[in-house]
């Protein structure tokens, strides 16, 4: 498959790193600025809900929310930048012969780099809080890979649609804002009524946040069945997104 040629892997790497450097103005402070967003969100939610939610009684409620906001923030940032990756690089799309999915992969890659730094910051907070780590932390790569497959697949769909429908970025902006409440970031699935529970639980991002809390906060094995399902679903999403993208690839070059 063309995608895996070393020439193109190098290009994804160069672009991801270049865009990451620009995004954060190449400084530690720059990274802190972008980490501040999920951090402040977590702090606000913590003070709002710590006495109102049943989960708020747990001693690690702040970390509970932070894992949610960091993961959700990664999802929103990566899909939003994947969405605009094609329309923001018309010069490259029209003038260079290369697999166009490279642009989508690179812009998601930019946020993978950032997410890794954010997770390191979360680990430091976990260590400082005295919670420590268990052997179940070794599931982290599997969960992250599932999450990245899902985000990349979704971004491949979105980037293509955005070429045809220019208001897609506004629609996605609204959808992700609503999505924030359909994912158990500051509440737990057991807090909500049965009617909504399915909508929340069937969402792969909810499951990913739940897995992360299982391994990082509760030091227990995540449900292997759910994890396998989410992984399989994410893989399907990537394959479907890739096929969709490849089908429209040449038309994109004319439209963008």
């Amino acid at each position: 498959m063309k995608l895996f040629g070393s020439r193109y892997i190098n290009l994804v790497k160069e672009l991801s790193i270049a865009w990451f450097k620009i995004k954060d103005q190449r400084s530690i402070l720059g990274f802190l600025w972008s980490f501040l967003n999920p951090l402040i969100m977590a702090a606000i939610l913590f003070f709002l809900f710590r006495s109102r939610m049943s989960t708020g009684l747990s001693s690690n409620y702040f970390l509970y929310i932070l894992i949610g906001t960091v993961t959700w923030n990664f999802f929103v940032m990566a899909t939003s930048s994947g969405l605009t990756s094609i329309v923001n690089s018309p010069d490259m799309v029209r003038n260079v012969s290369f697999p166009r999915e490279i642009l989508v992969l690179s812009s998601v890659g930019t946020f993978i780099i950032q997410h890794i730094f954010e997770l390191l910051a979360v680990f430091i907070l976990i260590a400082v809080s005295g919670l420590g780590f268990s052997k179940y932390a070794m599931f982290l790569p599997v969960i992250l890979i599932a999450e990245i497959l899902f985000i990349t697949g979704l971004s491949l769909f979105l980037s293509c649609i955005c070429v045809y429908a220019q208001d897609m970025r506004h629609i996605w902006n609204v959808l992700t804002r609503m999505g924030f409440f359909v994912v158990p970031i500051f509440y737990s699935v057991s807090d909500i009524s049965l009617r909504f529970r399915m909508a929340v639980a069937l969402n792969p991002m909810s499951q990913i946040i739940i897995f992360l809390r299982d391994i990082l906060l509760y030091h227990r094995l995540p449900s292997i069945l759910s994890l396998s399902l989410v992984f399989a679903f994410s893989l399907l999403m990537l394959i479907a997104g890739y096929k969709f993208f490849k089908y429209y690839e040449h038309k994109i070059a004319e439209k963008v």
Partner: protein, 243 residues
């Protein structure tokens, strides 16, 4: 000599939307299967063949389809009908400095643009001295690109692009950037290309340069192939037709 590029009966139609595209309009059209649009034939029935090592010129007025033809040969656009076969690795220089980031240094941009031109990290590292001496940027290589003049940026981009080692090179109007001495250097590179066994396709409005550089010329007008043959002949034809 066998053919390295074969274009047969190539046509390209563009479909242009006549109204701004929004999600719900696109969705509605997708459901109802009605697409209000305008058709434009950018190329019609183009046929020619290029042998290995030949230098081919593409000439024609603006909008005659030169760039569209080049994009189809590079597999950026797909043709509506007909066939295009390119036997070998083709690299296109359609516009210099694509993908370069103004906030990063010239050195970092060398790696980015190099990667876009298909060069690996190692290859660029090996060729870095030659790139830097050719571009004559000296100490500026650590400066962010935004502090560069347009001419300096093109110089850097050209220096990197010339390292792309493909057997087929397709150039679209890339000459004429930079000061006199740099233009002279670029011509020297083209002269070296001319003597090499690379296959080159070059679109340009500089008719004299095309006449000097190319073996054969393809003359396009409004998407139609007017003539394809020896450079001198076709250039005269174009001049007569035009002036």
């Amino acid at each position: 000599m066998q053919n390295i590029i074969e274009v047969h009966n190539l046509s390209k139609r563009f479909i242009l939307a006549t109204e701004p595209q929004t999600f719900f309009r696109v969705f509605k059209r997708f459901i109802t299967r009605s697409f209000p649009c305008k058709e434009i034939w950018a190329l019609k029935n183009i046929s020619f063949a290029v042998k290995k090592g030949e230098k081919i010129g593409l000439i024609g007025d603006n909008g005659s389809g030169k760039t569209t033809l080049i994009r189809i040969m590079l597999d950026i656009y797909r043709q509506t009908s007909g066939s295009v076969n390119v036997f070998g690795q083709a690299t296109g220089f359609l516009s210099l400095g694509i993908g370069m980031q103004r906030d990063l240094s010239a050195l970092e941009n060398t790696y980015i643009f190099g990667a876009i031109m298909g060069l690996g990290k190692e290859e660029i590292r090996k060729k870095l001295d030659s790139i830097m001496s050719f571009s004559e940027l000296g100490d500026f290589i650590y400066c962010p690109l935004r502090d560069f003049s347009t001419g300096m940026q093109s110089r850097l981009a050209f220096s990197i692009a010339k390292e792309a080692d493909s057997e087929i090179l397709i150039l679209d109007e890339i000459l004429g950037a930079g000061d006199t001495s740099f233009v002279k250097k670029c011509s020297q590179v083209l002269e070296d290309y001319r003597k090499s066994d690379k296959t080159i396709i070059m679109a340009s409005h500089d008719i004299e340069a095309i006449g000097r550089f190319c073996d054969k010329v393809l003359l396009l007008n409004k998407g139609q192939q007017l003539a394809f043959g020896p450079a001198g002949e076709i250039v005269e034809l174009y001049k007569a037709h035009k002036f």
